[in-house]
């Protein structure tokens, strides 16, 4: 489709850009204490964007801007996930005490720009577009991680993030240039065709390129061995940004991996039929091993953490590992399970981070000591935190279990080659129980009945209830979600 024709299908992004400009302009006229209003501007803009994404989700899959990006139900699904998590983060940012000393105008604007990048990440089918979208997201993340300029931890987080980000995107760029050199094109489908006609003498170069590209992707989803930035950045960044980084870029990162690896580096049937795809290259095995290492490392290190925020950072590494388990299976089922996992993961993970915000606002700390006897003092917060921990562990009847069930189901169904991945995943969920329930233990098992009960402010209470309801309800009845995901499993693809 030509550039002019494409604009019609690019409306969500255009509205988003207008919203961002509106945010910037509004910021000029506001006093520091009123900058929360910009969150409203962005929020309302995002709702309109969401509606127009929904409106476009039923158009037949097509490419825009001369094969730069696609619009298909899969990308619409991911965009809606991103919008939901952004909206939740905007609301939480109003109540986040860490930000009260700063103007929030730029903060919300940067989040808005990041959403544009995330949208492009989910839909790019050209390696240049891919690189540009990743960079947009990364640069916004660097600034946001270091947003608390008076806090050295936050500054450290921003700087660390920049260094790691620059390094891994450099490596990725090198990998992408290898692919371009081998195939002579930047378009996914041309690359796929070129690769399928190559003989196996090109494999070493391709594997080299794949590994380098995975450095960039792995950095976005915080997979081992590209995870080193995660704990420090997550600990130093404002908690709302930590929460955001743990869900939205991860969702977009997975969307990008699925498109790039499943579509480009396997035969084209992997994403179109019920059959399992095939590839000569050993990347499924490599990702399988990385998935197991990622989960195991995330879980084992999480056990030793003193700070709950840092523990949640490692737990999010582990969750990236669970989702990666399904990547080696080149089938539509695998993509379905990752999509379901991502959706339930938003609510349980954001819910846990929101409780970290509540406790930090109240006590000023994030360590286990601050949670001592919390369940007796703030019963609702304690009970909901228990629910989030249950869900993150993956115990029924919570949404986290449904996510794990789908991942395990995909692996068992794919045959006995993948059984070792299931067993590794299962053992890891048992390990994770230990540290998730360490929180529960501290909240309830120690401490005594207190006569004065306290409740969080109504905004935060509303947020945690809003995230808790899907965390439980989707574990009991997820038929609508399953249906929606099934409908969204349509990818743009060019028949070869």
């Amino acid at each position: 489709m030509t550039n002019l024709q494409s604009l019609e299908f690019f409306i969500p992004e255009i509205i988003l850009v207008i919203t961002i400009l509106a945010c910037l302009i509004t910021d000029l006229f506001l006093k520091k204490s009123k900058t929360d209003l910009i969150g409203w501007v962005l929020g309302v803009g995002l709702i309109i964007v969401g509606l127009s994404v929904y409106n476009l989700s039923s158009v037949p899959p097509t490419t825009l801007f001369s094969d730069m990006i696609v619009i298909d139900p899969f990308s619409s699904y991911m965009k809606i996930i991103i919008i939901i998590s952004t909206l939740l983060i905007i609301v939480a940012s109003w109540a986040n005490g860490e930000l009260s000393k700063y103007r929030k105008g730029e903060y919300f604007t940067l989040i808005g720009i990041m959403v544009v990048g995330l949208f492009l990440m989910t839909s790019s089918i050209d390696i240049i577009m891919l690189y540009v979208s990743i960079e947009v997201v990364s640069i916004m993340s660097f600034v946001l991680a270091g947003y608390l300029k008076l806090n050295t931890r936050s500054n450290e987080a921003g700087l660390k993030y920049v260094i790691y980000g620059a390094f891994s995107s450099g490596v990725m760029l090198f990998g992408l240039s290898l692919v371009f050199g081998l195939t002579g094109s930047t378009n996914y489908f041309v690359i796929q065709e070129a690769i399928s006609s190559m003989d196996s003498s090109a494999n070493p170069a391709l594997i080299m390129a794949l590994l380098m590209i995975f450095a960039g992707f792995g950095y976005k989803i915080s997979s081992v061995p590209f995870h080193f930035w995660t704990p420090d950045v997550y600990e130093g960044a404002p908690t709302t940004i930590t929460a955001y980084l743990s869900v939205a870029p991860k969702a977009a990162g997975f969307a990008m991996i699925i498109r790039f690896f499943h579509q480009v580096f396997s035969d084209s049937i992997a994403l179109s039929g019920n059959t399992v795809g095939y590839t000569d290259l050993p990347w499924p095995e490599i990702i399988g091993i990385l998935a197991v290492v990622t989960m195991t490392l995330g879980n084992l290190v999480a056990i030793q953490q003193e700070s709950i925020k840092r523990m949640l950072a490692y737990s999010s590494i582990a969750h990236a590992g669970y989702m990666m388990l399904a990547l080696p299976v080149l089938s539509i089922d695998a993509v379905e399970s990752i999509m379901i996992y991502l959706f339930v993961y938003i609510f349980m993970n954001l819910g846990a981070f929101f409780i970290v915000i509540i406790v930090k606002n109240k006590t000023g700390g994030e360590t286990f000591a601050e949670y001592d006897g919390l369940g007796w003092k703030m019963p609702i917060v304690g009970a909901l935190m228990t629910l989030f921990m249950l869900s993150l562990t993956g115990l029924p009847p919570t949404a986290g279990f449904v996510g794990k069930l789908y991942i395990f189901k995909t692996l068992v169904g794919a045959g006995s080659d993948f059984l070792w991945l299931v067993i590794a995943g299962g053992i890891n969920s048992v390990i994770s129980l230990y540290y998730y329930f360490h929180v529960v233990k501290v909240m309830f098992l120690s401490g005594k009945r207190s006569d004065k009960l306290s409740y969080p402010p109504s905004l935060m209470l509303g947020l945690i209830i809003f995230t808790a309801v899907p965390s439980l309800a989707l574990g009991l009845y997820w038929n609508p979600l399953a249906k929606w995901v099934k409908e969204s499993l349509v990818f743009y693809s060019q028949a070869m």
């Binding site: 249950l390 115990l395 029924p396 009847p397 279990f401 069930l405 395990f408 189901k409 068992v412 169904g413 006995s416 059984l419 299931v422 067993i423 299962g426 053992i427 969920s429 048992v430 129980l433 230990y434 329930f437 529960v440 233990k441 309830f444 098992l445 120690s446 009945r449 009845y477 997820w478 038929n479 399953a482 249906k483 099934k486």
Partner: protein, 514 residues
């Protein structure tokens, strides 16, 4: 009557919600409402029992609703001769347990809300016939149990609670993988009855890692259940959990939760893969023997009365394992001895019920003395017989029942397990009689140390067992004595279902052992 099984599951869930919203200062109200809910539950269970047709060995009172059609998950409930006695036992022990927990002082509301949730989970496992539902209830039991041990338990409660949780979760994760294996091999369904029908054919010749998939799935499921039983070497969580748990929770843990393991083996492993029973029975009987001997030896070494009873549970569940291994007598190659198989399996199922009542009694009685003395050291008492004659009498009765004295129900079921297993596993049966000896030794020795000899001066003012405590023990004692003398009604209730299971296993022998 149509939805009586749903009623059984949903009464306690609703009850838990009601209790959670009661005012937290009115503790007696919470207790009375919990008693009323479990009482109602018990009445519904009795109504179910009266309406149950013992001649029919298949599932009765089936309920079936669609739930998640995209994964073929349904809400299916049913009851047969294997689950009905367990449902009755559950309803009864949970009702009694409310009175055993009457003295709980800390966060009464939370305690009873979790208690009722546990009740729903246990009944759900016994009644559900869809693997997904089964698994959900299986896991729903864990959280209340974690809190009940961890918040209301003894000094080491936190460690005991997480150890229990980790062990069981490990087992259930393996079980989940096994269930998914069955889901895919048997045509993408979670319906247990449908899988039972399809599995022998569907699993035939399927290989995982060069091994028969049926064997891999069997082992995965077995470990999940074995941790619950608990089978040696997965038993280490049990003594700790028992010792730390409050009395009522120990009662339920020993009385019902351990039975879930054996129930699962019979319902799932035996029901779905009857042909693999022949492959595994020898190992099962051997594990039973180890349980009997190991449990007995450990019990002998204990100085804590509650720990002694806990190890006696391991010892007693061993008999059940030997009993269920005996079903292989029904196979042609073992002589097709249906009578022996019948005796073994019925004995094992009967032993589950008897151990439920007897161990419940033992734990309540240990709780009674702990309440007064605040310790359970066997050597720390002495001469209690003169101080508390009624308590001594009842404890004597419970100990005798526990050591399997003829005239008590435990004797009947243990004898049946042995009779059934003898034709196939002669050596194991002969060796496990040592367990009976140990069994008698640890109970009698403990009895002697606690009740006879000179009265310990510290306890000369010890109060006699009170009315409410008697109320919790006497019904159990009556049941134990009644079935010891006249086990007929129980065996008639389960016979048709047992026959069906054995028939299936006998038939499986004809299509061969892989």
């Amino acid at each position: 009557m149509e939805n009586i099984l749903s009623l059984l599951i949903w009464i306690p869930i609703m009850g838990a919600i009601i209790v959670a919203f009661l005012p937290r200062d009115n503790e007696n109200l919470v207790r009375y409402i919990s008693a009323a809910i479990t009482g109602l539950e018990f009445i519904v269970a009795i109504v179910l029992w009266r309406a149950f047709d013992p001649v029919n060995g298949s599932m009765q009172f089936m309920e079936r609703y669609e739930w998640i059609p995209s994964l073929n998950i349904s809400y299916i409930l049913g009851v047969d001769g294997l689950s009905l006695p367990m449902v009755l036992l559950t309803a009864m022990l949970f009702f009694i347990g409310v009175f055993v927990s009457w003295n709980i002082k800390k966060a009464v509301k939370g305690y009873f809300a979790l208690y009722l949730l546990l009740n729903a989970g246990v009944l759900g496992v016994f009644l559900s016939l869809d693997f997904f539902l089964f698994y959900i209830f299986w896991e729903v039991m864990l959280l209340p149990m974690y809190f009940l041990i961890g918040m209301w338990g003894g000094p080491q409660r936190e460690y005991a609670a997480i150890k229990f949780f980790l062990y069981t979760l490990f087992g259930s994760v393996l079980m989940l993988i096994g269930i998914l294996g069955l889901y895919f091999t048997c045509g993408k369904t979670f319906d247990i009855l449908l899988i039972m029908e399809r599995a022998p054919e569907a699993l035939n010749g399927v290989l995982w890692w060069g091994m028969s998939a049926a064997k891999v799935i069997w082992v995965l499921l077995f470990i999940g259940f074995a941790i619950k039983v608990p089978v040696f070497p997965f038993h280490t969580w049990l003594p700790l959990a028992h010792v730390e748990a409050p009395t009522a929770i120990s009662v339920l843990l020993a009385g019902i939760l351990l039975k879930l393991g054996v129930y699962g083996i019979i319902r799932v492993n035996y029901g779905i893969m009857p042909d693999q029973v022949y492959w595994f029975a020898g190992g099962l009987a051997f594990l039973g023997l180890v349980n009997v001997i190991w449990g007995g030896l450990c019990a002998l070494a204990q100085t804590d009365l509650k720990k002694l009873v806990a190890y006696s549970s391991i010892n007693h569940m061993g008999y059940s394992l030997i009993g269920i291994a005996a079903v292989v007598a029904a196979g042609e190659m073992n002589g097709g001895d249906l009578k022996a198989a019948q005796a073994g399996l019925s004995g094992a199922v009967f032993q589950m019920f008897n151990h439920g009542t007897i161990s419940a009694m033992l734990f309540i009685l240990v709780g009674v003395v702990y309440e007064r003395a605040h310790h359970r050291d066997i050597d720390g008492f002495g001469g209690l017989a003169s101080q508390m004659p009624i308590y001594t009498g009842i404890t004597a009765l419970a100990f005798f029942a526990g050591l399997g004295l003829p005239g008590f129900s435990g004797f009947v079921s243990e004898a049946m397990c042995f009779i059934g297993a003898f034709p196939v596993f002669k050596a194991i049966v002969v060796l496990s009689t040592i367990g009976i000896l140990l069994n008698a030794a640890y109970f009698l020795w403990a009895f002697q140390r606690v009740f006879f000899g000179e009265l310990n001066e510290k306890y000369k003012d010890m109060k006699e067992i009170n009315g409410m405590e008697l109320f919790t023990v006497i019904p159990l004692a009556i049941i134990t004595l009644f079935f010891g003398i006249y086990p007929g009604p129980y065996l008639d209730l389960i016979k048709a279902t047992m026959d069906q299971i054995i028939e299936k296993i006998a038939f499986a022998a004809s299509y061969g052992i892989m």
